[in-house]
């Protein structure tokens, strides 16, 4: 089984190629190609994961090309961490394929959509299987391409165009960081292989400064991909893509690639205390920062997007606080419940054809399946006990506390409170109360989505509940035991801090839910209570802390300004110099032409003068050949 694991990414690639060829087919049954092939990937991934669970991983490589004596290799590697990722990615991908069959029904580029999904799945699975940094980087970029294509799927919409461009460019900034880190590491280690890098790091062959520098550069890549502060602005905008895409790429898999990267390179980070601290701080700040923005958003997908950013911050925080298992654990559970939430949101949008939560309401009765499933997702993400989110979040908090990062710990608690609040604000506004949407003429009644859409949600709903039991202090720490067999040496020591931590976390989430209930369900507290109390602050939060505007004013304006300046420079200075030379020559020619009086004798005199001068030179120097 393990030897064949390189086939896993190739199934979606095949799907991509086939679907591009059948692009013109009107039949929507082409979707089954994609579903079937990703299904095969899923089956193989589960097989691989089970194989790794029982035994060892595998690593196979061959020479890709050579630079001088150095061989650049390609291959695949299966270890506990990426086997787990394989399952997550192929599972969510498979479910999203299925879901899209219903969601994209009737779109004129139906086949192309599935082709792009295939391309993305290929890249993501390839990324996970990569045994070296270079290969990871290549798939890393291809994943970005997939994301770009899918965000820009509705290419005729200017917003989609802008969002796609923004996503690509913002992540590219991160990618360049990763690139620099990777190349710097190469010259320290002489190889891109994880094994060799870790071995060199372990031997202490790299200076501390270099370690921190490379780790931070690689982290910049993760920041870009995972939408961490300050490169997070593309992720909410990426919601312009179709909702299944948001679920697959911008919730469950691609954005988690940043976390995966840090996890995969964990020995490097472990070797540098400073790098770990930066990771933790960035993660913690992102968590609370994004959560604060999520409080005020009106677009259902944007709320979820900010929540994604915030949860990714959590994962980074965990990794930065030596909570390796906690980070991966949260990645896993988050993939399930966030995909669930997005799919449910897609189902809602599918039903009501709007994304503005203020135009929804009272959908609980109409969407008999979607409603409860969304509730499960919301409860899970809020960290209500016994659901998956509770366990993973608890572990993050515990490891943060155990690592002595108390400030970040309390930030995380507040973020948990906010998470609970905005998730239930969303839930109450969408599913309870009066129906607020105006019925447009000829629009069909709100109805539940077809089973091809609800089935994936049910699967995810079940997983969102049970995934937490992968790693609990009560039943067993399967996940930690499993991950401990990987290349990463897990930090020792008990991460399960004081007993009061789960209590505090539960309290925070329940408080959040309660507050949301009071404001949006019971109306006990006025909705604009906070807005009125802190007008300035809420304004800032509503406008996403003006980060986008800030970038526009500084980076974008600066760059275009510089470019325009460069254009002027090019036209007037560079061209000008040339023009100056040519006009100079022309002037000289004109002066020279005045000497031409057309009389042979004058020319003759000039010629004689020339000869005389030459002769003089020859006479004075004694001649060239003598």
């Amino acid at each position: 089984m393990l030897q064949m694991s390189w086939l896993i990414p190739l199934f979606p690639l095949l799907s991509f190629i086939l679907l591009l060829l059948f692009r013109k087919s009107k039949s929507e049954s082409t979707a089954w190609i994609g579903v079937l092939l990703t299904g095969l990937s899923l089956v193989m991934s589960v097989g691989v994961c089970l194989a790794v669970w029982q035994g060892e991983g595998i690593k196979t490589e061959g020479t890709w090309f050579q630079i001088g004596e150095r061989a650049i290799t390609m291959g695949f590697e299966v270890n506990p961490l990426n086997a787990l990722m394989l399952v997550i990615v192929s599972l969510v991908s498979f479910l999203v394929h299925l879901y899209s069959k219903g969601y994209m029904h009737g779109d004129e580029r139906f086949g192309v959509f599935f082709a792009y999904l295939g391309l993305f799945s290929f890249a993501m699975l390839g990324l996970v299987l990569s045994p070296n940094l270079l290969q990871l980087y290549m798939f890393w970029e291809l994943v970005g391409l997939g994301s770009f294509l899918l965000i820009g799927f509705y290419y005729f919409k200017p917003e989609a165009k802008a969002a796609a461009k923004k996503a690509f460019v913002m992540t590219r900034i991160g990618d360049v960081g990763l690139f620099i880190g990777m190349v710097l590491l190469f010259w320290q280690v002489g190889s891109f292989e994880y094994d060799e890098i870790f071995a060199t790091v372990k031997n202490g062959d790299i200076s501390d400064g270099m370690l921190t520098l490379t780790a931070l550069c690689i982290f910049v890549g993760a920041v870009g991909k995972s939408g961490q502060l300050p490169l997070h602005t593309w992720l909410p905008d990426a919601m312009e893509g179709p909702t299944p895409v948001s679920a697959l790429i911008h919730a469950a898999t691609m954005v988690a690639a940043g976390v995966y990267l840090v996890a995969a390179m964990y020995p490097l980070f472990q070797a540098s205390e400073a790098a770990l601290t930066v990771v933790a701080v960035v993660g913690g700040l992102t968590a609370i920062f994004a959560a604060s923005i999520g409080l005020m958003q009106k677009d259902i997908k944007r709320v979820l997007a900010y929540s994604t950013v915030s949860q990714l911050g959590y994962m980074m925080l965990a990794l930065g606080a030596s909570g390796y298992v906690a980070g991966i654990f949260h990645l896993t559970t988050h993939a399930f419940f966030k995909a669930l939430l997005f799919l449910a949101a897609g189902s809602v949008i599918h039903a009501v054809h709007t994304q503005n939560i203020e135009e929804m309401g009272g959908l609980w009765k109409k969407l008999r399946l979607t409603g409860p499933l969304f509730l499960i997702g919301a409860l899970a993400i809020s960290g209500v006990p016994l659901l998956s989110g509770f366990f993973s979040k608890d572990e993050i908090l515990a490891s943060t506390y155990a690592d002595g990062k108390y400030g970040l710990f309390w930030l995380a608690v507040i973020a948990a409170f906010m998470t609970a609040f905005y998730m239930f604000r969303l839930f109450f506004l969408v599913f309870t109360g009066e129906a607020r949407q105006e019925k447009k003429d000829g629009q069909k009644d709100v109805h539940e989505s077809p089973s091809v859409m609800t089935f994936p949600m049910i699967v995810l709903g079940v997983l969102a509940v049970v995934a937490g039991y992968l790693n609990t202090t009560w039943f067993g720490t399967f996940l930690s035991d499993y991950l401990a067999r990987g290349p990463v040496e897990l930090p020792h020591g008990d991460h399960h801090g004081p007993v009061w931590i789960p209590l505090v976390a539960t309290l925070a989430s329940l408080l959040g839910i309660g507050l949301a209930y009071l404001i949006y369900q019971r109306g006990t507290l006025s909705r604009d209570w906070i807005t009125r109390s802190f007008p300035g602050l809420s304004d800032v939060i509503y406008n996403k802390w003006y980060i986008d505007e800030g970038y526009d004013q500084t980076v974008v304006k600066g760059t275009t300004g510089l470019s325009k300046l460069g254009a002027l420079f090019d036209r007037y200075v560079v061209e000008g110099l040339v023009t100056a030379v040519t006009t100079g020559v022309q002037r000289l020619g004109r002066i020279g032409s005045r000497l031409q009086n057309g009389q042979v004798q004058s020319y003759g005199t000039a010629a004689i003068f020339g000869i005389v001068i030459l002769l003089l030179i020859v006479a004075l120097t004694g001649g060239y050949f003598s």
Binding site: S602, T605, I608, F609, I611, V612, L615, L616, A619
Partner: protein, 170 residues
């Protein structure tokens, strides 16, 4: 001072005098006549250089043919007999250039001596030239004839009246 030396000096003096007169006279016809002296004196110089045949040719062609042609030229184009002097500046500039040229060349040739000379050139001079011309230099010699022919035809066509063409056109 050998006789040869004296002959050389006399001839050289004549030649240079002719040249100077060419520069200084104002009447065009006089100038040409002055130059005849130069040409004949050069023929004399050739004889001192044991080149009798060349000397004879020089007299025939230069002193005879070319001078006559030039005189014809002057008569055919008689425009103003007196030659006006060129502007002073131009004269000075040209004079300066040529003076410099003279000085440089003078410096280079004044001590030139290869130490060898052929004393037997005058023996059967014409015969030798004839043999050489018809053996070693036969191709250039024939080419010369072509050149002369071309020159002949060319001059006739150039000097032909254009009215003929105009009439032909009519």
């Amino acid at each position: 001072m050998t006789g040869e030396m004296i002959a050389f000096f006399l001839l050289a003096l004549t030649a240079i005098t002719g040249g100077v007169l060419l520069i200084n006279l104002t009447n065009v016809v006089h100038m040409v006549v002055a130059l005849i002296f130069t040409f004949i004196a050069i023929a004399g110089i050739y004889i001192t250089l044991s080149a009798e045949f060349v000397a004879v040719v020089q007299v025939l062609i230069y002193s005879g043919a070319i001078t006559i042609i030039m005189l014809f030229g002057i008569m055919l184009t008689r425009h103003q007999e007196k030659e006006k002097r060129a502007p002073r500046l131009k004269m000075m500039l040209t004079g300066l250039a040529i003076g410099l040229f003279f000085l440089i060349m003078y410096g280079k040739i004044k001590d030139l001596n290869f130490g060898q000379q052929d004393a037997g050139l005058h023996i059967d001079n014409t015969k030798k030239i004839g043999v050489e011309l018809y053996s070693h230099y036969v191709i250039p010699f024939e080419l010369t004839s072509v050149l002369l022919l071309v020159a002949l035809i060319g001059s006739i066509i150039l000097a032909k009246r254009e009215d003929d063409e105009k009439e032909a056109k009519k």
